[in-house]
């Protein structure tokens, strides 16, 4: 029960195109790790492999001493690995509350599933609170705006109490204030969970990240604290643009 995420020699091929090549990547239990890299670097692909969506051509992914490669998606979730998606997907026909409740209920036994929901579970209520969606609890999720969906998705993830969270661009499309709120939330979560965040927002990174891993063309470009990474000329070259500082300012 180490709680570490260990990726070794991971290679992903798409019809001859190599999205990840021989990637090694480790996240220790309890860490809050940021994952950045140019568009197409393979960040989402990495998350996809960890969560069972994409089958790698080779390599291994271990979490908590379980090999994840070859397991089906829901099994991996049951091992305590949760994720959000770059384009948020919520169940449009269910209400916000039902979305959260469903996410929270996956460990219930069949009998529990066959019963009606009575009241609101504590975890669900908390998630409604945290995400600021309490007022919208009984609306179908289909009516949410882009940003609201993002929140709901994070909320759903929280109710699942995963030990490892993988967030793919959680603050994209959020206003600055909301980014800050999300950041605070992340910090809090990271106290008890292992979190990997894929993000492009350097400002956000600067404020909330400690360790950052940079991917480029399916390989590890560099790893370190925010300052180190930002100062790295290779990172500036491929990712930030020569005057990266300016953008993030």
């Amino acid at each position: 029960m180490s709680g570490d995420l260990t990726v070794r020699g991971l290679t992903v091929d798409f019809d001859g195109f190599r999205a990840l090549s021989d990637l090694d990547f480790t996240v220790r239990a309890g860490e809050l790790r940021f994952l950045i890299g140019p568009n197409g670097a393979g960040k989402t692909t990495l998350v996809d492999v960890i969560t069972g969506r994409t089958k790698p051509a080779g390599g291994s992914v271990r979490f908590d001493d379980h090999e994840l490669v070859g397991r089906r998606e829901h099994r991996i979730v049951r091992l305590g690995v949760g994720r959000t998606f770059q384009t948020s997907v919520v169940f449009e026909q269910l209400t916000v509350l039902e979305n959260l409740d469903l996410a929270a209920s996956f460990r219930r036994r069949t009998a529990g599933l066959l019963r009606r929901r009575r009241g609101v579970a504590a975890g669900v209520a908390a998630a409604l609170e945290t995400t600021g969606l309490a007022a919208l609890a009984d609306r179908p999720a289909g009516v949410l705006s882009h940003g609201q969906r993002q929140w709901l998705e994070i909320g759903m993830l929280l109710t699942q109490r995963p030990r490892l969270l993988l967030l793919d661009e959680p603050v994209a499309g959020m206003s600055r204030v909301e980014r800050d709120r999300t950041g605070e939330l992340l910090r809090e979560i990271a106290r008890e969970h292992t979190v990997v965040v894929v993000e492009h927002d350097m400002e956000f990174l600067r404020r909330f990240a400690s360790t950052v891993t940079v991917l480029h063309e399916g390989r590890l470009l560099c790893e370190g604290d925010v300052a180190t990474v930002r100062a790295d000329p290779k990172v500036q070259e491929v990712y930030l643009g020569r005057s990266g500082e300016e953008v993030a300012a």
Partner: protein
Amino acid sequence: MAVLNQLVIGASMAAVLLLVALGLTFTFGQMGVINMAHGEFIMAGAYTTYLVQPVAGTLAVPAALVVAFVVAGLMGLLLERLAIRRFYGRPLDTLLLTFGVSLILQQLARDIFGAPNVQVTAPGWLTGGVDLAGVRLPYNRIFILLVAVGCVVAIGLYLTRTGHGSRMRAVMQNRQLAAVSGVATGRVDQTTFFLGSGLAGVAGVALTLIGPVGPNLGTYYIVDAFLIVVAGGLGQLRGAVLAALALGILNSYVEFWTDASLAKVVVFMVIVAFLQVRPQGLFVLRTRALS
């Protein structure tokens, strides 16, 4: 020898299957409309041949190919305008809607042409056949094969080589985005449906050479037609061709060794088994997006 014959027979069965399914690569494959009235458009093509016959004489069949394409196409166009256009993105609803349309069209044919089959005879130049190493390949089968190949080539070019073809696919994948890209989505829908339905009409003409021309004609082919499209992979022309070929040959051999009833059952089971290996049909269009 007889066993070898079956290969040729399988291929010619495949041509028929392909022809009845081709229109569906548009209406079902591209537009996502489960058009149960497709069979009745085939029927309309067959009746067109019947009507053209006294006028066009020995050239009835080629003339009918053109007329039937237009007639069935227009029927499709009308259906699209009056009803289908409200149903894009809801394939299962179109199924029920068009089932109703198919009942109406069948009854209409019964009332217009009478319940019994009508007579369409192949012109002289389509009777007879060539002998290939002891196998006789009837001219009308060759003709059907040629029509099928011609349609496949034309569709293939249309889909991949014309702007209209890719716009049609664009509309199906993201209607709204197509509209904001300047595509007149309604117009594209109409054209697509016209083409798909028109192809059903063409199939109907071909079928008059080998089968009955009556109000029930469409019902005999509709299930097979959809199966071909599914086995081939939705909207995949190559897939439909290969699936038709595979199922035609499989069917011909199973029927040869057992009987026609069992052949149909076996073909179904093979398709289910096949979908274990290739769940989305022979040729898959995947994307990374979540459904």
